[in-house]
Symmetry: C2
Subunit: 302 residues, 2 copies
């Protein structure tokens, strides 16, 4: 008999941030707002809206303030943003962001290339961001990228991930988000990851962020649920495919998660029709077909 499963799973929609950040072209602000407003009405409890990094570094998300100013907030939906430093936090506070995400990685090489800092330096930078966020009663998610493997270093030891998680928890973050950045994991990788991580944090206090590059993400999600994880990131239509591999999927598609969990008797609160409708808005804006399986099968406008 398979293990008992929880009745409710929490999905954070990361398409507007992680998805659009990995699109080659920049989507007009009005299209982003229309996309987020449609997501807001789908029943998804949390949307990662944008990133307050410099527009020079991530031009695709250079309009974070305008997007926050333009969107219509729905009751019960948390609107969050990525924040790299105090300057970013000021931008987020000015936009009444309710939750922020800071980011590091379990790979030294990835951190150096991505944010030009060691893991220790990146965590040191979070300290003032966190204390100021706490002063404003803003919840803090901390991403740990490369939780299974790194594009430069290859396999990452689960103990290294647990170590970074411990340091972030010591700093006072509310939620650990484990990023399987390059989409190589099989369910056995999720077992090994949580064997180490659950020594420092309850699986139920973590979020798992999976990429579906090799078609394994949904199987990994289901294994994580068996382990006790109840919070996952996903992206409308699988938005965020690597621009260098046309059609290759990036983020695990929200619809694939919702469809499968519903069929297994688990609830996400997300209306499948409405989330597909949101994906159609952003599909038109980016001008290429989204790769999500359920999206492709069910969208009337495919």
């Amino acid at each position: 008999m398979p293990p008992a499963v929880p009745s409710r799973i929490r999905i954070t929609e990361v398409g507007p941030r992680d998805g659009l950040q990995n699109e080659r072209q920049t989507v007009p602000t009005a299209d982003k707002i229309a996309f987020i407003n449609a997501l807001s009405l789908s029943g998804v409890p949390e949307i990662e809206v944008s990133s307050f990094v410099s527009a020079r570094q991530v031009p695709q998300l250079g309009d974070a303030s305008e997007v926050f100013a333009g969107l219509t907030r729905a009751r019960g939906v948390v609107y969050s943003a990525l924040v790299p430093n105090l300057k970013g936090l000021e931008g987020a506070l000015a936009c009444r962001v309710e939750k922020i995400a800071v980011f590091t990685a379990a790979s030294e090489t990835f951190n150096r290339r991505n944010i030009n800092a060691t893991i220790a330096e990146s965590i040191d930078r979070f300290a003032p961001v966190l204390s100021r966020a706490k002063a404003h009663a803003i919840a803090v998610r901390a991403y740990i990228s490369c939780a299974v493997a790194c594009p430069y270093e290859g396999p990452i030891q689960p103990s290294a991930v647990a170590d970074v998680a411990q340091r972030l928890l010591d700093l006072g973050v509310d939620e650990i988000d484990l990023g399987e950045t390059i989409g190589v994991a099989a369910p056995t990788d999720i077992d090994r990851l949580y064997e180490a991580v659950s020594a420092v944090v309850e699986p139920s206090r973590t979020t798992l962020h999976l990429h579906d590059t090799r078609g394994t993400a949904l199987a990994c999600l289901l294994r994580a649920i068996e382990i006790g994880v109840t919070s996952f990131d996903a992206s409308s239509g699988g938005l965020g495919g690597c621009p260098f591999a046309p059609g290759a999927s990036g983020n695990l598609a929200t619809e694939d998660v919702v469809y499968c969990l519903n069929r297994m008797g688990m609830e996400t609160g997300i209306d499948l029709r409405r989330i597909i409708g949101a994906g159609e808005i952003i599909q038109r804006a980016i001008g290429r077909p989204l790769p999500g399986r359920v999206f492709r099968a069910e969208s009337p406008n495919r």
Copy 2:
């Protein structure tokens, strides 16, 4: 802890038959032969080569005899074909086919529309085919389509599938192949299916044939392995997408299975590079990108 898993899983490559049957256009015979020859060298233990149905009904596979005559048989690879009746069996015998597959469904409506027969009539037609196949020491696989759901009737009762399986076993077939024809199943559907089916046949005597239309096929395969199933059908590159939903996946992609199982410590005997190379041959022939995730991520010619 997850259940113990077997060390070896058997994959039957069904791209040349089920994949090409569902392509809109007919692929030239020489391309089919090149594809099958490349598959033969990938380490896959069994290839469903074609179908001896009338060329009028399935024009895409009207060249079954020519394909068998032209291919180079590799040692240790079983070359099988679909056979609807005695006439088809004669064609298969003339081509030295080593294994045949007969086909029915667990849905009366699907059977009527697909082969213009009731389930009982279809099984009656198998009797002479089977006895003649046995006389030639030809192994017989029996497909049961719509093992989870039917495009016309919707959900199919697992007990109905078990009943058809029992009747086929009574007739003397060697292997039951359960077809999840429309790609709607979640792992819980696989649980329910095998709760009923395992009352009449050991899971290890069945093959599971999954379609990845909604991204759930790999998760279903892994659940089936936990139940004791060790034989699966898959299609190179996910060949066989429904022609009416461009980009929507049809068959579970062989590469996705091989990649994930290898990473979990299970062996298929299939070389990932070589099976991707085979997919590239048929991708060029059909002139559209194959949807398989690993294929898209790893093919150097994508």
